[in-house]
Each structure stands twice: as C-alpha cells, then as structure tokens.
C-alpha cells in the first residue's frame, strides 16, 4: 500500500472515528435526555405525592368541602403528572403501573371517606380508611422512590457506559494512530535506508539493484527509476578498477612484447639484461653462485644457406623448445642475438653448469631436429661463466661467457668451455 493510500486510509479512519464519537455522543445525549426525563418525572411525582400526603394530614378531623376540593385538585394534578410518564423500561413500567393502579384506589378510597364523612356516623371506619389512604399514598411514594432510584441507576449506567465507550474509542484511536505513525515512519526509514545503501553501492562502483524491504508505491516507483538509471550507468561507465586492470593488462602485454623475442618467443636481450642484473645483485647479497651459459648454434649460416631462412628460423625455434625442456623452472633462457642464446642458472655451481651444458648437447644429439620432413643434426657450442667475487658487473660475467664460447668455437665446436681467471683478467 502506498503512502498516499495510507494517508487516505488514516483520513477515512479518522472520519469514521469522528462519526463513531459523534454517534456515541448523540446516542448518549438522547439516552441521557430520556434518563433525565425519567428523573424529572419521578421528582414531579414525588412532589405531588408529598402534597397529597400533606393534605391528608392537614385535613384530619372534619372534612370540609373546601379541603376536599383542594385535595381533589391535587389528586387531579397527580393524575395528570403520572399520565405524562416518559418511555420506561419493563421493570420501571411495572412500578408505573403500580402507581397508576394505586392512584385509582386512592380516588375510590377518598370518595368512600368523603361519603362516610357526610354521614357523620362512621368515625371509626373513616379513621381506618384514612389510614388506608395514607398507606396507599405511601405505597405510591415508595414506588415513586424506587422508580427514581431506578432512573438514577439508569442515568449512572448510561454515564458509565458512555465513559467506557469513549475510553474504548480513544484507546482504539490512540492505538490506530500510533500504529499508523510507526508504520509510515518504518516505510520512510527503511526505504530511505535502502536508497542510501543503493547510492553508496553505486559510489563504490557496484551497480546493484535496490530492493525495498518495505513496499510502498511511491518509493517503488522511485526505486524502479533509480534501478533503471543504475543499470544504464553500469552499461556505459568503465570503473576505475576495470580501467586499471585494463591498463595493467596492456602494460603487461607491452612489457612481455618488449621483453620477448618475437621469433622464438623467449626472453630477448633486454629481458636478459634486466633479469641478469637482478640475479647478479642477488649473488652479491646471498652466498650462492650464478652460472651463465652462452650458447651458439654451430654452422647456422650453412643451414640458412642450404635450407633457407625459414628453416633457419624453425631451427632456432626448435632449439629453444629443446632448451626449455632441459632447464629448471628457475633458470632463465634468452636470445642474445642471431643464433646465440644465454641461459642463467641461479644457485648453480660450476659442476651444475657443466651438467646442464652436457644435457643440452646430449638432448640435441639424441633428438635431431625434424623440420619440413628434413632431419637436421644440430650441435651447439657453449661458453660457461660462473659468478665469483671478481665480477663487478653482470656484463663482465656475460663477456667472460662469450669469451669461453669463442674458445669452444675455436676448439672445434660442439663442446663447452669454462671461462677461467686468465680470460677474465684479460676481459677486465
């Protein structure tokens, strides 16, 4: 239900309650009027009865015509009064009937006494009937008092009922209003909170849909539009993170491109120097050796001349795949230039370097290269240099390996040579 509908409902409920309150007040006013009429009636009856009783007392002795007329006038008034009784309850009507009946007896008794009084001979029975007359009036008075008590009791009952009904209506109104205020306030608070979370999510780059925990047509409409806007934003906006990831990806790709030899898909000379510097620095900080193998493909020019440059390129590529298979994960293979390759062997002593060199040569010997159905027996010459304290730079180490390679080539190829201190000294 919408907030507007809720407000309409409250308004209608408010009108309804007002009508109920007015109805109660109207009904109470009517009931009170009726009850008050009864009370007035009983008071009027009581007053006339008192007068009648008084006249009986004052006319003790001889009953003159004047006294008799006065009494009859009062009695007539009494008859008129009791004839104007308001609407009564069944129990009250019983008392009213009693009063009416007693009044009939009253007249007959009085006339009887009047008749006896005229005869001047029946003082005893007249006195007795006088007492009976008084008793009749007393009966009427008692009925009247009981009727008055009953009317007052009705009045009190109506007042009490009115109080309880109004109290009930007020309590219901209070509860209804409280519930209404709490409900509307909860809808407001939760909807605004949901929207705040939604906005925060968007600020954080999370284009989530807002879901209202308390439904209301107004907020639902708002949220629907908000979600549409959020969706549009999500579709058209590149987030900072994705942009960064994109840049990093591209940078990495560029870095890989700039450090990779495009023909053999292994590290190029630039990458070799970068990694070589790092590994060389590490040997300065930690007590382990770094071995460097400089490898040259023997008679590569002949291959190019005999089979063409494409085959030559494939020879270089297959050489690299063979080298990659034979070295460790921590080792670093790079193309130094032309048909020359360098392998960095961290944590490797001279023995290890020799072992690796032999393994590479053996691998090529055991598995000739097969290119375009041509089997080629390719050999390599290897110059080995082991990093020692004497090397000040990585380039010096590389240079020693190159010198060793030169020696290996001169010594007949398909072999390896280890750079010695003399060479180093010469280089340095």
């Amino acid at each position: 239900m919408g907030l507007t509908q809720r407000l309409y409902l409250f308004t209608v409920a408010g009108f309804g309650l007002m009508i109920i309150v007015f109805s109660i007040l109207f009904w109470s006013w009517k009931s009170l009027n009726i009850a008050m009429e009864k009370v007035d009636y009983t008071q009027r009856v009581g007053e006339v009865v008192d007068q009648l009783q008084l006249h009986i007392f004052t006319r003790q002795g001889a009953l003159s015509h004047q006294k008799s007329d006065t009494w009859l006038t009062e009695q007539k008034r009494f008859t008129e009064v009791i004839s104007s009784a308001p609407a009564l309850t069944a129990q009250q009507q019983t008392l009213q009937n009693s009063i009416m009946s007693q009044n009939g007896s009253l007249i007959i008794l009085f006339k009887q006494i009047q008749q006896l009084s005229d005869q001047y001979t029946h003082n005893k029975i007249e006195a007795h009937l006088n007492v009976r007359l008084l008793t009749q009036i007393e009966l009427i008075r008692e009925d009247c008092l009981q009727l008055a008590s009953s009317a007052e009791s009705s009045l009190r009952y109506i007042m009490r009922k009115l109080f309880y009904m109004l109290a009930l209506v007020l309590v219901l109104t209070f509860c209804g209003l409280t519930w209404g205020v709490i409900d509307v306030s909860r809808v407001f608070k939760s909807s605004i909170k949901d929207i705040q979370y939604g906005i925060s999510d968007i600020l954080d780059g999370n284009y989530k849909k807002i879901k209202l925990s308390k439904k209301s047509s107004e907020f639902s409409e708002f949220v629907e539009k908000f979600n549409a806007m959020s969706k549009q934003l999500a579709e058209t906006t590149v987030s900072r993170d994705s942009l960064q990831a994109l840049v990093e990806g591209r940078t990495e790709a560029l870095r890989i491109i700039s450090n990779t030899d495009p023909l053999t898909n292994i590290a190029n000379r630039r990458a070799l120097y970068e990694r070589g510097e790092i590994e060389f620095s590490r040997t300065k900080r930690h007590p382990f050796k770094l071995a460097l193998l400089m490898i040259d493909c023997d008679f590569f020019k002949k291959v190019n001349d005999s089979y063409g440059h494409l085959v030559g390129d494939q020879v270089l590529q297959q050489l690299c795949r063979t080298f990659e298979k034979e070295i460790r994960d921590v080792d670093f293979l790079a193309r130094y230039g032309g048909e020359e390759f360098v392998i960095l062997l961290p944590h490797c002593e001279e023995g290890g370097a020799i072992e690796t060199a032999k393994r590479l040569q053996l691998a090529l010997k055991n598995a000739p290269l097969l290119i375009n159905k041509i089997s080629l027996n390719v050999t390599i010459s290897i110059g080995i240099a082991i990093n020692e304290d004497k090397y000040a730079t990585f380039e010096a180490l590389l240079n020693d390996a190159d010198n060793a390679l030169f020696v290996a080539k001169n010594n007949g190829r398909n072999r390896f040579e280890i750079a010695d201190s003399r060479l180093n000294n010469q280089t340095n």
């Binding site: 009693s98 009946s101 009939g104 029975i125 007795h128 008793t135 007393e138 009966l139 009981q146």
Partner: protein, 329 residues
C-alpha cells in the same frame, strides 16, 4: 505455527468448558434443597415462573415447590417445619403475629386491591352494604377475607356481630354459596372466579375494590443462621429474575401460569390486571399490617389486648442483598 496456536486455543477452551461444567454439576449436586409451600393462586406467579424458566436452578439452592390452598395453610407448613418458606397474605401475618413471633416476612412480591371479593347470591338481594345485616356469611377465618368483611360491614356502621359468620376453607366457599349454606362468601382468587363460573347469573360481586390491598409475602421462620439467610437470598434472587421476566414477557408469563395452575385463559384475563408483581419491603407494608391489626382489634376480630410490633416480623437482610432499592424501612 498458526495450527499450533489454534490447537492451543482449542485445548484451553475445552479445558475451561469442562472445568466450568464440572463446577456447575458439582455445585448443582452440592446445593442445599429448600421446600417452599406456595399458595396455588396466580399471585404466586413469580414462583411458577422461576420454576419453569429455571431461575431456581440457576440460584444457589434446589427448590421444591409444595402447592397448598391459601396463605394460611402455607403459613402452617412453614411454622410446622414442613416447608422452609411459604407465601402468605398480610392478613395472615397480622393474625399470626398476634400470637407468635417465630416467623418473618422476607419480602412482599405481589399485591392486588381486588383479589379478595364479596360475592352474594342474587336471592340474598344485597344491593348496598347495609343489606348484608343479618345474612349468613361464609369466610375463611384468620385470613384476609375476615378483614375485608369487617371493613365492608363498617362502611354501613355494622360489625361482625350483625351477621352470621360461617367458617369454611377457601376451596369450599363456592360450593357453600352454591348449596345455599350461606348468602354471601368472601373468597379470594381463584375461588371467586370459580364461584362466578359455578353460579353464573345467580352470583353478584359486591363492590369492595380498594377496601383491602392484599400484599403477598414470602415468609419463613426466623433466619437465625447465616445458612438460612443465604438460602433466603438465593430464593429472592430467583424471584427477582422471575418478576423481571413477567415485566418483559407478560404474555409468556400468563401462558406459564395457565399451564402451571390449570387455570383458563378467561380466568387469567379476569385477575391479571389487578396484580402488581414487585419485590419490596417498605413502610407501606408495615402501615398496612398495623392498620389491619388495629382494625381487627377495634372490630373485635381478635381478643388480644396489645398489638405486636410488626416491624419485628419484617426481615430486610435478604432483600437488601438482592435489591437494595426495594427496601425502605
């Protein structure tokens, strides 16, 4: 969850109903039983209504109603200990109050100023009260008829000595007039109606309306224990309900009375307008009793020298508990 709540509500409801029923049954079994000697007249309507509508069953006593003829017999049943409560007219209280004080009136529940009547045989040729002198009068001694007769006689300056009084029980009066054993009878209802029916045009009702207001009372022996007072209160509660029923359902009330006392619709229509049913114990009753007593003494109906204090024969305690507004003494 909802099912569990419904089950709990059902179980609690069944438990409460069973406990209530057990309690009701137990209370019905444990309730004391009281016997009420009720004069079989429409004036006793509240008792018959309470009996038929179950107002006695709802009260705190089990009630057994013994039908008797006349308030005097009812009184005797009470004082002899055969009944706990009875229904008697003010005249019976006046008469009996002169000789004993071991009983009380607990409430007046019905009144009529035309219940007791003087009916003469047409052959007796009684036109005015003076004509009754020397006639044979059938009356029930010690009851309201005797008081009415003396009052009627006094209207013409006559006394009981001026007529020949023959005593009959109330139910024998119609036959006595029919058989010419007497010229005039003083019966109360339903015997007055029976007389009119029996003699048809040969019976003449003399004008005695308003000479006597008959007030029918619930009487008992003195309530000298809390238990007795409680029983009386229970009975009065049921009577109060019955009187309210008569006020709100007069037609049904008449039908119940017709069935209960074996009366005819015609009879009820004859007497009902004269009856007023209400619980009260007021000064007017005391005045009525005292004036009757004084009259009886002056008329020579009783031989006593000193009149009793009838105030002492009215016990207001039970009625005050049931309807305080109905007590003004």
């Amino acid at each position: 969850m909802r099912l569990i709540v419904i089950l709990i509500v059902l179980v609690v409801t069944v438990f409460v109903i069973s406990v209530y029923n057990d309690k009701s049954k137990a209370s019905a079994v444990n309730k004391p039983t009281v016997t009420i000697a009720v004069s079989k007249t429409p004036l006793s309507a509240p008792f018959y209504i309470a009996e038929s509508q179950g107002f006695f069953d709802q009260s705190c006593v089990n009630v057994v109603i013994n039908d008797v003829i006349g308030g005097k017999n009812s009184f005797e049943q009470v004082v002899m200990g055969n009944a706990d409560f009875g229904t008697s007219s003010g005249s019976v209280i006046v008469f009996q109050g002169m000789f004993r004080d071991d009983f009380v009136s607990l409430a007046s529940f019905a009144q009529s100023d035309n219940d007791v009547k003087l009916i003469s045989h047409v052959k007796a040729n009684i036109i005015d009260s003076i004509d009754i002198a020397g006639k044979r009068i059938g009356v029930t001694k010690g009851a309201s008829g005797e008081y009415l007769l003396s009052t009627y006689l006094a209207l013409s300056g006559l006394t009981i000595a001026d007529v020949k009084v023959h005593s009959f029980s109330a139910d024998k009066l119609p036959q006595a007039l029919f058989d010419h054993k007497v010229d005039v009878i003083v019966p109360w209802e339903p015997y007055a109606f029976q007389t009119i029916q029996m003699l048809n045009n040969e019976a003449k009702t003399l004008n005695t309306k308003n000479l006597n207001t008959l007030m029918f009372n619930l009487i008992s022996r003195r309530l000298d224990s809390t238990e007795k007072l409680k029983k009386a209160t229970c009975v009065l509660h049921a009577l109060n309900d019955a009187i309210n029923y008569i006020s709100t359902n007069p037609d049904n009330a008449r039908k119940i009375i017709i069935t209960r006392i074996g009366a005819t619709q015609k009879f009820i229509d004859w007497v009902w307008p004269d009856y007023i049913f209400k619980l009260s114990l007021n000064r007017s009753l005391l005045m009525n009793l005292q004036s009757q007593a004084s009259w009886m003494l002056e008329s020579g109906l009783v031989d006593t020298v000193k009149l009793p204090d009838y105030r002492l024969l009215l016990d207001t305690r039970a009625l005050k508990k049931v309807n305080p507004m109905a007590v003004r003494l």
